[in-house]
């Protein structure tokens, strides 16, 4: 069993490239931001060099509310990568932010049997190294106002 200090499986950490680096820098500074085209306003995740909507290379980073819902999820039951050993069963989710983009993530304090498509979640930024902070999700701290 291998874990990071926070008890997470020892999954590979992101190796940010030039175009995606601001995503990770914003997380490290305490904010979940998504790449946004300054020409047409389209939000894009994962980050791209050009806007797939209008082709513009001009983009900025827009802060997100951090609220979303579970769009889909899988539960790993067999250690088909060594880092899962000692952590099974393990949930990986795809969360759709209320602004639209979807992020692969993990769910904090939600057992596998309680995860459902459509359930509301809220981001929590979890530092896993000096450079990397991951956007993970948990149940909302207060009821949502619809």
């Amino acid at each position: 069993m291998t874990s990071t200090p926070g008890g997470r499986p020892d999954f590979p950490l992101p190796v940010p490239n030039e175009d995606g680096a601001p995503f990770w820098e914003h997380l490290r500074a305490g904010e979940l931001c998504i790449q946004q085209c300054t020409s047409c306003g389209r939000l894009q995740h994962p980050p791209r060099v050009l806007c797939p909507g209008c082709g513009s290379p001009d983009r900025d980073w827009a802060p997100m509310s951090g609220r979303g819902t579970v769009y889909s999820f899988v539960v790993t039951h067999q250690a088909i990568h060594p880092s899962f050993e000692g952590h099974l069963p393990y949930v990986t989710a795809l969360v759709e932010l209320e602004e639209g983009p979807r992020l692969a993530t993990n769910l904090l304090d939600i057992p596998p049997g309680e995860v459902e498509i459509g359930m509301p979640v809220e981001v929590e930024l979890v530092p896993v190294s000096d450079e990397i902070t991951l956007p993970l999700f948990r149940r909302p701290s207060s009821p949502r106002v619809e």
């Binding site: 499986p9 999954f11 590979p12 950490l13 992101p14 190796v15 940010p16 490239n17 995606g20 995740h45 994962p46 769009y71 889909s72 999820f73 899988v74 539960v75 790993t76 039951h77 067999q78 088909i80 990568h81 060594p82 880092s83 899962f84 069963p89 393990y90 990986t92 989710a93 795809l94 979807r102 992020l103 692969a104 993530t105 993990n106 596998p112 498509i117 896993v128 990397i132 991951l134």
Partner: protein, 372 residues
């Protein structure tokens, strides 16, 4: 594409430990395919392969004694490029850039590099993997299970329906002496009782891991008519890169309109189907996304026995597919689609004239036609 045909097919045995190099497996399969066609190895002037494979075109050409390698190349994605390779090879022959193109594979997928293992397919958090691997999306299975779960939610498809894909294919493998699971039956209860690997995928939703080689020989229809075998005419061949909704649709939503237009056919005119089944539910999803059945009707279709050779209205994966024959990532299914128009399958569909083969998540498909 009518002017190009598949003139030869060749395979090695399928095993868990071939005891041979991947290059040897590829060369053995190529020789079988050339012998099947009745073409001398020195006539080969085109070679194409999966980019993930280890045996280069130069290595094959040197071994075969190819004098003039006029056309070679790979298609770069993963296992899902079989139809794309046929599309490229057929385009080259149609354009007069090559005369005899061999598409080949040799893989030790069980005793060597195992594609189901994250250590093999992982990218150490680099590139696009920076946004997936840190959360445990470490094999192709993880992303595909994510799509499957969403489709179950949207269309009501069930794990038991996935199971009927596995059971139907096993019946076909039980009729195919070359199949890995030739002598092992499978019941729907076996499937439902099998352990979860990446939920919603159970053990018997997952493809085999196989050591083996395969090859197909393409040439002009005119030339193919003078060779040993009845030619399998390429009625249509198409590839595509993406779907607009990656966790809901397969890329068949892009491939299908172009494929059917090129073929000038409707799905209900097809006699027999092969679909890339790295995971059982993708048979259901492909049947829906190519238009053989409507969205949400694929599960009920397979549950009612629709894909079975014995009594089904549209037999699918008649050699046992990747779940029960072998996992050569599309190659063994391309070969089976040729057998069906030749009339030589172990689960032969009577009077099969039009044979369809998808080679992965809807990213490419071909339609073969029996010659007049």
């Amino acid at each position: 594409m009518h002017r190009v045909a598949i003139a030869g097919i060749g395979e090695t045995d399928y095993s868990r430990n071939s005891g041979r190099s991947e290059t040897r497996l590829a060369l053995d399969a190529i020789q079988h395919a050339l012998d099947d066609a009745g073409i001398d190895r020195t006539e080969v002037d085109g070679l194409m392969r999966w980019s993930v494979d280890t045996t280069s075109e130069e290595e094959v050409a040197a071994n075969l004694g190819v004098k003039d390698l006029a056309w070679f190349g790979e298609v770069n994605q993963a296992g899902n490029v079989g139809a794309a390779l046929v599309t490229h090879a057929a385009a080259a022959i149609t354009a007069g850039l090559a005369n005899v193109v061999v598409i080949y594979r040799g893989v030790n997928g069980r005793s060597g590099r195992r594609y189901g293992r994250g250590e093999v397919t992982g990218r150490r958090g680099q590139g696009g993997a920076a946004y997936t691997e840190p959360f445990g999306i470490l094999t192709p299975q993880h992303g595909l299970a994510m799509l499957a779960r969403r489709r179950m939610h949207e269309f009501g498809t069930t794990s038991r329906q996935f199971g009927w894909v596995a059971v139907s294919e096993r019946e076909h493998a039980n009729r195919n002496p070359r199949a890995t699971y030739y002598d092992r039956p499978l019941t729907i209860e076996d499937h439902q009782d099998s352990r979860l690997i990446v939920d919603p995928f159970r053990l018997f939703d997952c493809c085999l891991e196989t050591d083996g080689g395969g090859a197909i020989v393409l040439t002009s229809t005119e030339r193919a008519r003078d060779l040993k075998q009845p030619p399998a005419l390429i009625r249509a061949a198409a590839q595509s890169g993406y779907s607009e909704r990656p966790y809901v649709d397969t890329a068949a939503t892009s491939t299908a309109p172009r494929l059917w237009a090129q073929a000038e056919l409707r799905p209900d005119e097809i006699d027999v189907v092969q679909i890339y089944d790295h995971f059982a539910p993708f048979v259901i999803f492909a049947l829906e996304d190519y238009g053989f059945v409507r969205r949400g009707e694929g599960g009920p279709f397979v549950e009612a026995g629709g894909m079975r050779w014995d009594g089904g209205t549209l037999p699918v994966n008649t050699s046992g597919g990747h779940l029960s024959e072998a996992y050569l990532q599309g190659m063994n299914q391309l070969i089976e689609s040729v057998r069906q128009v030749r009339g030589t399958s172990t689960s032969q569909v009577a009077d099969a004239h039009l044979s369809f083969c998808d080679t992965g998540i809807g990213t490419g498909a071909i339609i073969l036609e029996r010659d007049r």
